[in-house]
Assembly symmetry: C2
Homo-oligomer: 430 residues x 2
């Protein structure tokens, strides 16, 4: 772990620099597969599933039978845990519903804003060793609450042509319409263009490896929206002597086990606390199954001492962490002044894992400094806001002249005419 004491402000951006990934070698691969799937549809999808996942499938749509089998394979204990998490995520995301906002801006000029669901959304769930059924909850639950008509889920098949039962169980529980055994670039390309089997969607959500990340970014060139740009996961903890070093160490490690490139940072106003956390990390890491991964991330981690809370919050806002844990007797100061963070965890009994799974907040969050300009996934991510206006004869009389003057000053005569014609018609009794 790198211990840094009182870093000068001008060094912050260097200290806090994230690793920059170079995807240029992957881009050509992604482009090639996109073009082929655009042209050849399902046939090309099957080719790449065979190539990358090592399995030839005649039907990539998960059948009802497969879902029933999956349901029977998930333990009751896990089902109950998933249901509790789902209930909390539902409560929090349902609370995010916004009413129609309506206002008469000038007499006779009625304006309103309404949010309507994005009709077709695609959820990508990675395969691999860790079956991310928690991400199914985080994406499918708000999609359903938003009212998206078509919720498609793509996840790569394993060598036996199957998707992990917990993923299937969760997907059906959340009301996903269609589950497809397809992963990687071919899944993203399929949902971008649509094939006979894979529906074309308007927005793609979900995490993935570097191929999926580049594919999602590339998909945006074809009119598809994506949840947000992706980068390695991050945790920054601010803690003082009121914090528990053992808890803080466990949180840093829970971030570190995500991947060797995970970003793990502690900012503290207590020098002793740095040493205590370092000791606890060393002892806790020993028994982790994903020790090798965690060690790599911990090696690059930073324990930063600063003199006071003001300096700490400035540094944290410059970084803009995805996850931000506050264990400080001055927690209100940090809550009030944090400007850039994805999700914030407050107090000694609020580990990041709570938000990863079951508190109710979403775990799909902006990384790589995007907390400065992007929201984490929330109910609005599955909707778009539309505006409406209805103007009466009285209303156009009230604002018509202003429009005419402005349109003329911008040199747009036809814009002016559209108002003038109406005003004249009203004057002449139509």
């Amino acid at each position: 772990m790198n211990k840094i004491y009182n870093p000068a402000r001008e060094t912050w951006s260097k200290i806090l620099k994230r690793p920059t990934a170079n995807f240029s070698d992957i881009e050509e691969t992604v482009k090639g597969i996109f073009i082929e799937i655009q042209k050849k549809g399902d046939k090309a999808v099957a080719k790449y599933t065979s190539l990358f996942d090592g399995i030839s499938l005649t039907d990539i749509q998960v059948s009802d039978d497969e879902i029933q089998t999956a349901i029977s394979l998930v333990s009751d204990e896990l089902k109950e845990a998933i249901q509790l998490a789902k209930s909390n995520i539902e409560k929090f995301h349902s609370a995010q519903k916004t009413a129609k906002i309506e206002i008469e801006t000038t007499e006779g000029v009625q304006c309103w804003q309404e949010k309507r669901p994005i009709q077709k959304v695609g959820l990508y769930i990675p395969g691999g060793t860790a079956p991310l059924f928690s991400t199914v909850l985080m994406l499918a639950v708000p999609a359903k609450i938003a009212g998206c008509q078509e919720i498609v889920l793509c996840s790569p098949p394993d060598k036996n042509g199957k998707i992990n039962p917990a993923i299937l169980y969760t997907a059906q529980l959340c009301g996903v319409n269609k589950i497809l055994k397809v992963g990687g670039i071919q899944a993203i390309a399929g949902m971008t263009f649509g094939t006979t089997t894979i529906p074309k969607v308007y927005k793609i959500f979900g995490p993935g490896n570097q191929f999926v990340t580049v594919a999602k970014q590339f998909a945006t060139q074809f009119g598809v929206a994506i949840d947000m740009p992706a980068g390695p996961s991050e945790l920054l903890i601010v803690a003082d002597e009121s914090a528990n070093a053992s808890f803080v160490a466990s949180d840093l490690l829970s971030q570190a086990e995500h991947g060797g490139d995970s970003q793990v940072i502690l900012v503290t106003t207590s020098k002793d606390f740095i040493d205590a956390v370092e000791k606890d990390v060393s002892s806790q890491i020993k028994s982790l199954p994903r020790k090798a991964i965690a060690e790599k991330a911990i090696k690059n981690s930073k324990l930063i001492y600063v003199e006071n809370n003001q300096i700490a919050i400035d540094l944290i806002n410059e970084y803009g962490p995805e996850h931000f844990i506050i264990c400080s007797k001055n927690e209100k100061y940090y809550v009030d002044n944090i400007q850039n963070a994805g999700s914030i965890f407050i107090g000694n009994y609020t580990p990041e894992s709570a938000g990863d799974y079951a508190s109710g907040t979403n775990h799909t969050l902006p990384t790589n400094g995007y907390a400065k300009n992007y929201s984490g996934v929330n109910l609005d991510s599955f909707m778009k806001s539309m505006t409406f206006q209805k103007i009466s004869e009285k209303g156009i009389q009230n604002i018509g002249s202003a429009i005419e003057i402005m349109a003329e000053a911008e040199g747009l005569q036809a814009h002016k005419n559209a108002v003038t014609l109406r005003l004249k018609a009203i004057e002449n009794g139509k």
Copy 2:
């Protein structure tokens, strides 16, 4: 104008196809200028301002003196019109403020969502013949209401090194912090990387020509967010015999005068209405100063007859127009069923120009079918939503076991440990 009667559903996507722009030749230019500005800052900015705008400037920041001069140059009539528009835009966007959403998802698990402003935003306002001070209103007003700390405005200087007075007047009226005489690719690159004079911003808003469009898209590779992908402006009107052909023609023309590539579409359930509108367009277009531009757009415009409202709304939702005018005796049907549109104008006295300038709604809207997955600019465009959670000892006892089970099932032992340690500490009375 292209008259199309009862088009078969399978031909819709072809009929409604937007022109696809090929920007590949511009991309290299954009990349080159970005790299140079990243390296050389203001010096490179000055070089390109000289090259593209034909003026060498020693200081690109607009001074207080220049602003005072601009204020004196704008007529009182125009000032009043701008103030009326500003007042309506302020009312509508202020109404979009959302309260903190707070909920206890499980006893002891407090979750809330708060929106906080994007700290630094950049507004791009094109130069050229039409000084788009209305766009200054549409961007600066919500930025100010959102509470953005730094609002930077870039607009290209004219041959005399000046920015149109109406733009300067509006910018100062709306509380823009810094106005810079810089346009095109060099403005976008400057706000992306920051130079000695141009602040680095987190999100860039505003319209522009193809160079600006490509530059904004390219800027997203460097961590900057943008309002939305841009395309030519669009208007779709649905009208029946209750509509006024002359009004409808004037609206189609107000769209057509934007540019030769403007998309102009009428959908109607009345064959006679098509002919009436065509006649009115021909007569109104004659006296337009921007006749040549309008003619080009009108030549490509489409007047589409369909048999009933159900078919009409399906077609309209497939297109997803930026602007959608409803002049129909069945207006409620269209209002209730429109799923994909940027801004909707209802009734015979609600021309698109009203929303372009003064009704209060925003005129920065999704084009090119992006109404299917993007919101128009609104108050939230200048904020990001952040989530918070605070869990008590009781709370972690309530959800801790579910987290442990889920983390273990996902193979993430350290995530589990972070909870286990806390539960044990509580059991042992810490």
